[in-house]
Amino acid sequence: MGVGAADLRRWVGAFADTVVANEQLLTSLDSAIGDADHGGNMARGMKAVVAKLDADPPATPAALLKQVGMTLISTVGGASGPLYGTFFLRMAQSVGDADELDTAGVGAALRAGVAGVVARGKAEAGDKTMYDALAPAVDAYDAALGGGELAEALRAAADAAATGRDATTPLQARKGRASYLGERSVGHQDPGATSATFLIETAAATLPAP
């Protein structure tokens, strides 16, 4: 039993809930090294995504992921809008017209999404961005894939994302708004890496068949 549109819908819904519940946290992380809007940006976008999906539920994984990406792009703005938007658009491209994704398919889609983030944002490892959570996550996913279990792979990915997120704290930012702070960006956890970790954690919690 693979991952279908309904599973993806569950994931996106859980991500939206988590983002909304953590809006203050994300904003206060962004206050320290940015402009105090990451929570608001993500909450606004994910609420719009959920409203859109409810109003007009897409039937296929690709349609759903595309809808999510397009909605984020047109409602978020800032850095996170294009980045998360591109992430989902590239996932949509990756899944093609499949009705269900197997474990490898999920991994390929996530990797395509992360590649999209890099294509758009040019971040490298250690720049102190969401990429520092996403990149280890897809690597861990692929490494765990040998085991064959979706739940296991996603759990490994989520743990790696959290580790990557935590590892952003001592870094000096080289991309995004935090880079303006130079050395003063050291010692603060990156807000985008934090929301990206929610993304992978909610995938681990929702995508494996319940």
Binding site: D37, P82, G182
Partner: protein, 333 residues
């Protein structure tokens, strides 16, 4: 947080309604949050759009009108607008000669405008050229960072490129003069207090009563250094010296000297700062040929100021002096 607002989520939309009500010479697309000059699209003129997060008013909506921008896209507070908005504005202003996108160098602004330009190329026949401003010397510039922020020089780019478009130049030439202004302009800012993003509900940073931030941008982000509060003459030195160290402004064309209030600093103090800046420039052999003092690119209610210098020449002087008629900057008409 005390602000003259209703729901924080509605601040931008309701402020745009106020602009629409107050300015019959502008037209506001409330769905897309775009401020147009009422007669857009102007045929046979290169059109200029800009946009960015709200909270920097009068930039950008207040600079829409003859001689400056054709339209401005308003994002949420401190959040770049989306590609949809920029695409709609691009199509709404094109008068057949193409559209210049004036983009402040922030990751979000750059990516969203990039996507808008891609969409314009893919979905419309409108020719788009983008110019990115990045004049803030507080930020280290390097290939491996996001580069410098676009701040005060953006105002000057919008005015001067707007005049170039009015003078009938083509898109490439208008973009060239915009790039020239950016290349010849440098800025540096400081804050006495933080601002409060309405949705965040509390000050972005806490600044003790005896400390100030040097090297801030226009989004309430903390600056490069936090230092003891100091007299205006020393603040002026903190701002002017890095600018002069970064670029030669002693050329015979002189400079436009621009002291900008960040939103919460009285005009009384802005002129006092201008006095300090003028004295430093004089001592450094920099000749001021034009000046601008006031809150033109702000950061909500932040107290503080920034200094922008632009190396002038006859071309820039003429374009600067050309008529402009916008809510935020007006002369000659």
């Amino acid at each position: 947080m005390k602000k003259l607002i209703n729901d924080p989520a509605d601040v931008v939309a309701e402020s745009l309604q106020g602009i629409a009500a107050a300015h019959p010479e502008l037209r506001v697309d409330h769905t897309n949050k775009i401020v147009y000059r009422a007669d857009a699209p102007v045929q046979n003129k290169v059109a200029l759009i800009s946009g960015g997060g709200s909270g920097h008013e009068p930039l950008h909506g207040g600079f829409v009108g003859p001689g400056m921008l054709d339209a401005a896209c308003a994002g949420e507070v401190f959040t770049s607008p989306t590609p949809d908005q920029m695409l709609a504005a691009t199509q709404g202003v094109d008068g057949g000669l193409g559209v210049l996108h004036i983009v402040k160098n922030y990751t979000g602004d750059v990516m969203n405008f990039e996507m808008a330009a891609e969409l314009a190329a893919a979905e419309t026949g409108v020719e788009v050229v983008s110019v990115v401003t990045d004049d803030d010397v507080a930020v280290q510039d390097s290939l491996y960072t996001a580069g410098r922020r676009g701040v005060g020089v953006t105002v000057l780019v919008e005015k001067i490129a707007g005049a170039a478009a009015d003078a009938g130049r083509d898109l490439a030439a208008v973009a060239d003069v915009a790039r020239k202004v950016n290349a010849q302009g440098r800025s540096m800012g400081m804050a006495l207090t933080s601002c409060t993003v309405p949705a965040a509900g509390r000050p972005t940073f806490d600044l003790p009563d005896d400390e100030i931030e040097i090297g801030i941008g226009i989004h309430g982000e903390p600056g490069r250094r936090r230092v003891q509060a100091m007299p205006a003459r020393d603040v002026a030195r903190e701002l002017v010296e890095p600018i002069l160290a970064d670029h030669d402004f002693t050329g015979s064309g002189g400079v436009l000297a621009f002291v900008n209030g960040m939103g919460g600093t009285p005009l009384l103090e802005q002129y006092l700062m201008y006095n300090e800046v003028a004295k430093l420039l004089d001592a450094a052999g920099v000749r001021v040929v034009r000046s601008l003092v006031g809150p033109y690119i702000t950061s909500l209610e932040m107290a503080g100021c920034s200094v922008t210098l632009l190396a002038m020449d006859d071309e820039l002087l003429q374009l600067w002096d050309a008529p402009v008629r916008t809510p935020g900057m007006r002369w000659g008409v």
